[in-house]
């Protein structure tokens, strides 16, 4: 098992250093969030930070905005532009960011 983990590790390093693999291309739509939702912890903002948040929580919020059960100023309008599959990919990517 240990050997297996090491092998995976090497494969990952090799893959991430390959120029054929663009390192971290976000799924469609995901990169736009940080226009309002700060990627870093500075500056302080009333708009919640999304990087590192639980993907399920992000998904719940977005589907709530989309069906109107969760009131908001602007997110109700934005969430309607995304399918479940798109939202799942975006939520997973945001959760994986540090």
């Amino acid at each position: 098992m240990k050997t297996f983990c090491v092998a995976i590790g090497i494969a990952t390093v090799a893959a991430s250093s390959s120029p054929l693999l663009a390192a971290s291309v976000p799924p469609p739509g995901a990169a736009a969030c940080s226009g309002c939702h700060a990627a870093g912890t500075v500056p302080a903002s009333p708009v919640s930070r999304l990087y590192g948040r639980d993907a399920g929580d992000i998904m719940t919020a977005m589907t709530g905005f989309r069906d109107g059960s969760l009131p908001a100023t602007v997110m109700t309008r934005i969430a309607k532009g995304f399918s479940d599959d798109e939202l799942r990919a975006i939520a997973a990517w945001l959760a994986a960011q540090k």
Binding site: S17, P19, L20, A22, P26, A32, H37, V47, K80, E86
Partner: protein, 426 residues
């Protein structure tokens, strides 16, 4: 990294040949030299793109070409005009971008050879690139408005590029007598920041109401409709009753010429002599886009919405105000959103793969007064060669909401500016 791919013209001949050779070879995964991406323009589009390129693929050699050492942001510059904010709060430098591994070259780009893939700089040196990103913003089309030119702009400021012009308009308002007439001339579409002239009218009216309440403001418009129109018009009635008059195109609002000697704006229906005249002229893509062969007969840049690659200049990508982005407005948010998608597309193309169709977002806040904000938002995807609205999404803030809703949107507007400028420059 340094400036190892900046060369004199003489050195360039050899370097360029080597680069071409490298590109024509098959792509061995581990032997390829780092690809070179040059980004021209250090505003919300270009600076975002340079940073995003390094994030998506840290091995890329990214150079940002921008002659100004300090960037002065247009969003929130209407607050500066109204005396609610200092110009310094609008200003940002490039040190942090350079610290992140982007080579920042403080030169103007003056020539582009799309075949040789080189950018000529004002100091006579050249940069070679594998892919070029243009984010040149807008140029003002002085020739499109008889009587208006750079000299006239010193008397009748446009204040459509933030900086000295912003302060000039503010000083003119401060010097104006109570009871004076302010005129804003708004251009036809498309132009940078569609809600901008109307937010400006609000915030100037806020200043006048506070300091010079007998004054009046007229907007002479070359359009019959405008962005967030109902929200603005409701706010004018609610906050500034009797102070703002909007003259639409069909009511004779189009300014045909100006006379800076008398501060007069001339329309088909008559002349308006203003104490303060803010003339926002028609615009086009920044000149370097035309030099690159990336503009069409509209003066803007047609692009493939999946890759942002110019439809007329291969290996040159155009983002921000300069590109024709379908239903996406020319805004800082759009430029930032496009910049990040473009960075992904460029890195993917360099890796020899086909980029996925992007999905983009825009959100533009406007302030009708301090603590009174509203927004327009949209979600966009490529369709028939342009960015189109995703149906059912987007739109403007609701018309009938309590003031608390407007106060929250004003808060979000302020935090948006802090967040996006931190992402781009911080």
């Amino acid at each position: 990294m340094g400036i190892n791919h900046r060369m004199s013209r003489r050195e360039f001949v050899g370097g360029g040949a080597a680069a071409v050779t490298a590109l024509t070879l098959p792509l061995p995964a581990f032997a390829q030299a780092a690809a070179r991406v040059v980004v021209i323009g250090g505003g919300f589009g270009g600076a975002s793109c340079a940073r995003a390129l390094k994030q998506v693929d840290p091995k890329l050699q990214v150079t940002l070409v921008e002659p100004n050492r300090t960037f002065t942001a247009c969003p929130f510059s209407n607050n500066v005009i109204a005396g609610l904010r200092s110009l310094e709060e609008q200003q940002f430098g490039y040190d942090k971008i350079a610290a992140g591994g982007v080579t920042v070259v403080a030169q103007a780009a003056t020539a582009i050879d799309a075949n040789a893939r080189t950018v000529g700089l004002a100091d006579g040196t050249s940069l070679a690139y594998d892919r070029l990103v243009l984010s040149p913003g807008v140029d003002l089309r002085f020739e499109a408005l008889p009587g208006y030119d750079e000299t006239a702009a010193a008397k009748m400021p446009h204040a459509w590029k933030a900086g000295e012009q912003t302060l000039l308009l503010r000083k003119q308002l401060e010097a104006m007598d109570d009871g004076g007439l302010v005129v804003i001339a708004a251009p036809a579409n498309p132009f940078r920041c569609p809600p901008g002239p109307y937010e400006r009218a609000c915030l100037i009216a806020h200043y006048l109401k506070t300091k010079k309440p007998r004054s009046k403001l007229i907007i002479l418009d070359a359009k019959d409709t405008f962005s967030k129109q109902r929200l603005f018009q409701n706010a004018w009635k609610e906050l500034y009753p009797g102070m703002i008059e909007w003259v639409s195109l069909s009511q004779g609002g189009k300014v045909n010429s100006v006379d800076p000697a008398t501060n007069t704006l001339i329309t088909d229906f008559g002349n308006h002599t203003a104490q303060v005249a803010n003339v926002i002229p028609p615009q086009r893509a920044g000149r370097i886009a035309t030099i690159a062969g990336a503009t069409d007969n509209t003066g803007w840049c047609a692009i493939d919405p999946v890759t942002f690659e110019s439809k007329s200049a291969p290996n040159i990508h155009v983002i921000g105000d300069a590109c024709i982005a379908g239903s996406m407005p020319k805004s800082a948010f759009s430029a930032n959103s496009q910049a990040k998608a473009c960075a992904s597309a460029v890195a993917t193309l360099i890796a020899g793969r086909a980029p996925e169709a992007p999905k983009l977002i825009n959100t533009c806040y406007s302030l009708a007064a301090p603590g009174y904000g509203f927004s327009v938002a949209g979600v966009y995807q490529p369709k028939n060669g342009l960015f189109t609205d995703v149906e059912g999404a987007g739109g403007v803030s609701p018309a009938d909401v309590p003031r608390d809703f407007r106060a929250r949107e004003a808060d979000y507007a302020n935090s948006w500016f802090a967040t996006i400028t931190a992402e781009v420059f911080g």
